[in-house]
């Protein structure tokens, strides 16, 4: 594992390709522990094959973005909801 944790803020550029709003201030509810945090405060891993956002309280995976060629797959399965 040489992938070190950074802040959700680090995903802002990639998220700007998907969402029309600035996403680091969006509130995300963890699908596991229920904690609600601004996306920028959660933890991000950007050097994996994809980009992963994890809950800063329980480490649950909230969001995954994987790019394969022209295709970008976004999974929000780990988030209960996102407030924009």
């Amino acid at each position: 594992m040489d992938d070190v944790m950074v802040d959700g803020n680090a995903l802002a550029g990639e998220l700007s390709e998907v969402f029309s709003q600035e996403m680091t201030l969006a509130r995300v509810a963890c699908g596991s522990c229920g904690a609600v945090e601004q996306l920028g405060a959660d933890h991000a891993y950007t050097r994996a094959p994809g980009m992963v956002l994890r809950c800063c309280h329980c480490d649950h995976v909230l969001l995954v973005m994987v790019r394969a060629g022209e295709q970008l797959r976004v999974s929000l399965a780990g988030s209960r909801w996102i407030d924009l």
Partner: protein
């Protein structure tokens, strides 16, 4: 320094993504914090050359005046400070983590803001202190801005400042007390940010008032 046609303007603390494309189509992308104030004419990013950094070594070694770069941004709304905020400001930087904080300091100065502001800046040696002269100038302006340097590896002769890593005792001695309800911004390598943010929480600062920007392993 970059001329940015159609640049929408940025906020202090935001970053840009720089993308390089090789002739064979290989792409590499890195994020760099913006160093200039929103009030400045040109966009400045500060890039530290890393030994194995495929993007930083190009930007520092190969890039020439007049070359074009592919940029995405400005990005981020989380690690942002505006000069109309009134809380005392605590900025804590490890090495090149000072870059987005410098944008805030320059913004504060350009906007004529006078909120009491302290920068705790940890560097390895005096020669490594980024923006050293500009920081000294701004700190002597008498508008409520102070710099506390920490030199962890090598100190000039007669150095009386801090030499240890930033800890709770140091933040308690020279930072703002939690009761002053300061806004805190911490930027640097991941372990540095972890240590400082934990120490601030230990001292009673509310987690939402502490904004962090971790670098990860390297900027690359």
């Amino acid at each position: 320094m970059l001329d940015m046609p159609e640049w929408p303007g940025h906020r202090a603390g935001q970053h840009v993504d720089v993308r390089l494309t090789a002739e064979d189509g290989y792409q590499a992308q890195r994020s760099y914090s913006i160093a200039s104030a929103p009030e400045d004419d040109r966009l400045a990013i500060t890039v530290e050359a890393l030994p194995d950094g495929e993007v930083s070594s190009y930007l520092v070694g190969e890039l020439r005046v007049g070359d074009q770069l592919e940029l995405r941004g400005p990005i981020g709304g989380y690690f942002v400070w505006e000069a109309d905020r009134t809380e005392p400001l605590l900025l804590v930087a490890g090495g090149s983590g000072v870059v987005p904080l410098m944008s805030m300091i320059r913004h504060r100065h350009a906007a004529g803001a006078t909120v009491p502001t302290k920068l705790l800046f940890s560097s390895r040696a005096w020669e490594d202190v980024i923006y050293r002269d500009e920081l000294e100038r701004l700190a002597s302006a008498g508008d409520g801005f102070a710099v506390i340097h920490i030199l962890t590896r090598m100190q000039p002769e007669g150095w009386t400042g801090y030499t240890r890593r930033v800890d709770a005792a140091m933040l308690s001695d020279v930072g703002w007390s939690a009761s002053a309800m300061p806004a805190s911004f911490v930027c640097g390598p991941t372990p540095f940010v972890e240590a400082v943010a934990s120490a601030l929480v230990l001292l009673g600062h509310a987690a939402p008032t502490i904004k962090t920007e971790r670098f990860g392993p390297t900027g690359g």
